[in-house]
Amino acid sequence: MFCCLRLVVVTIATVLVAGCGIKPKGKTDKPLVNNKPVNYELIGGFRGYLVTNQVIKDRVIQEGIPFELAGYFELKENQEENIFSDITPNLRSLLGINEGNGVNSGYKNNQPNSINMLLWYIALSGLATDMADTCDDHSNLFNQKTDDILAKLCTWPEAESKSDKTLQELWQLLMDYDATNEEFLVWRAYVQSDEFSKNTKKEAILNMVVSILYNPYFLLK
């Protein structure tokens, strides 16, 4: 599992790094705006667990069905002997959480780091796997719109599953209006590439979904 995880992680990171290029470091090389050096430091942070969970519920989950991304932290195998069962519900607090007791309050754990990126991956790939699994076993988890799009993706590698129209529908379903047109074009080119076509049906759906949900425009606010 972790081997596969590492492969996906490195792939995503490499694609992003290679696609965008790394800006050369150094104080003297900063571009100027209004005669002031521009700092390209990341600002913003995760939307947080609660908001992300709500967004996913609003976009893909059947209304009235209880859903928690944190549920994917549970190890499905060996459930009865899961030594993490007392810990896993609290892991979500590592994904951006508000805490307040009056004087000390704020939004915490909202900056990406190695642990929370792995946790996001586990949660989001869990959801993506459930989506891919609907090709074999229909699930009541997803809303009608999601089911309709998944039905088209399940025809992979047929043309309809990777058509501009289907990919736009999937992007719009998951990303809604959070990202720019340019992000969509890059993602679509990635999915329609020869390299991507080597994926099996389930791999293709999983990778399509994870690469949208792992996008900073989705995860960050």
């Binding site: 972790f2 990341l42 508000n98 047109n181 340019e182 074009l185």
Partner: protein, 634 residues
Amino acid sequence: MLEHGSTKALACLFIISLAISLSSCGKKKRNHNPPGNFALTGSPETYEKLQWVAKVGRVLRNGRELSDTQVDQLSLLSKDQVIDDLMKDALFGDTVVEFNLSYLGFKSDYLLYPGQSLLSRFFSKVEFPSAISSASEIMKNGDYFKIFNLKQPMYATPLVLNAFFEEEDAGKTTEELLIEAYNQFIFTADELVKVLDDSPSPDSFCESFSALVYRTSLFYAFGIEFRSGLGQSDHWFGDLTRYCQDFPYANPLPDFRPRLKTIKENLEVLYQYLRTMLPKNYIVKSLTDLRKYDNKILKMELEGRMLTAVGFWRNLPNSSTNYNRKRAAYVLKRFFCDDLTPINVALPAGHSGDQHASDPGCQACHYKLDPMAGFFRNLGRSGVNYESQEGISFDDDVNVDRKEYIRAWRNEGNTARPWNIGYIRSISDDSLNNYSANLANPELQDLFDIIKQAPEAKKCLVKNMFKYFVGETFTLDAGYLDHLTSEFEKKAKENSAVAFKETVKSLLTSNTFNIKDPKSGECYDYRPGVDPDGLPPCKVSFVLNKNCSSCHKGAGAQGGLDLSSWTEIDSVNNKFGFPHKVDGNQLSGSETFKRIVDRLTTDDLRLRMPLDIHIEAGEREQLYLWSLEMIEEY
């Protein structure tokens, strides 16, 4: 399992990929994509509007998304109309409650768990009636400034079960459990009367009385406790408990039958009230459905999550050592955005008082902290008012003589102002400070009045609104904040709820709200008419202009230091800074900022900047901290 080294490497890759994708990817690619390559809904312009509508929808609907149809329909309206429309929705009330909690420093995800609406989640843990009442006022264009007054009527939550009930009761409804608790209590009280009728002896009475006390535990299921120890309140068992505790019953058994009759009557009132609060009789879908507590019930001195207002007080205890300073720090931080950063730049050491802390480092906070704490002086453990009592009990279980304790705020020998209690801006110019109108006996209500009037409090509120509705990590130009605050104040004179909504509207239509790839340290909105080109960095530009530029501006700037412009001072290393010429030579940025830090913090009033001008403590600290950053940068 991943090895440590590879985990670290992956983490770096993740962060790099996220950072680059966010900050530069979109921008670079945007240049390479001609407009004809637009592949999403509509044209770039319409898509941008759709993006904005969806984002605004989420912000104003407390995180809930608009449906595709709603987004489409709303995108046909003007931006102002979209906002007006969404503000009519009950979900906007929830948004304001969440904002209020954030502003008050009590927004916590621990309040949130699946399956509960915001309102029930909120009530189940902390009680902040000001957050609720002011949000309700927003929905009816009333007085939003109730947010500044922590004393508000308590609101009641529907009766819900908690975990404190017996296993055999699992599966019973709330109503069934309530009826059972009532019946058992009445039955046991009647048994106790029988004991008094038949064979009144202290032993038999106290034995049966303990059974009655036990029956009160049935109400734990609803989160209601009769006062712990049962000895404090004569609404319930106070005198009965005291008698039975006085073993071996030195006094003859009084006739407690009239008291038992009263207790049963009180229970009947409570029971009938709780019936009205059963979920089937009390459905809360929005703020307007909320009910205030019945005063009769509040006077019963019950304790529990439904019936108390102690959430605030428990979070901010008064101890025998802090003397209400935690509550004072809370007020300064939350309502005045003064987080008491102890950097010893607020006042010169020579002006330190010696009542609580004569060390300048301590006094930099205590000069304003202690007088603020005085407003709370009569409130001890759990916010109980001890004003009429000889002693005061603290949250750390210490009891002291109240007269001795309140001497901490006595202004001995000053008959005009006998209390050192107020909102203190300056210890060198008393005219800048705010004191209670009732100098003889300042009360907590006076503090709320001061907050309501203070310009700092309005600015702090608007600053918090910016952080909540736009984003916490953006740099906010102080001139833009000043402009927003000034507009807010103007409108608030007519109606504070309308002023709140109009400010939210300004924020949601601002450049900052719409920016796609924001950069650290950049400002995207300024005071109208301001051209940021050539000005110092936006983080401090307005503060410098307000406090320093009258002397340090242009060619004739005092000391050769021009704090009104920002130019390249080192072309070799591409360094920018203030023009600062001494004997015709430009000083290095590092030297300039070291001198600025010295002049901001010196004890010598002849050298201390700004000279003879009052500068807000927060602004001095802002300049000081920024100057330190700049020394580091150079």
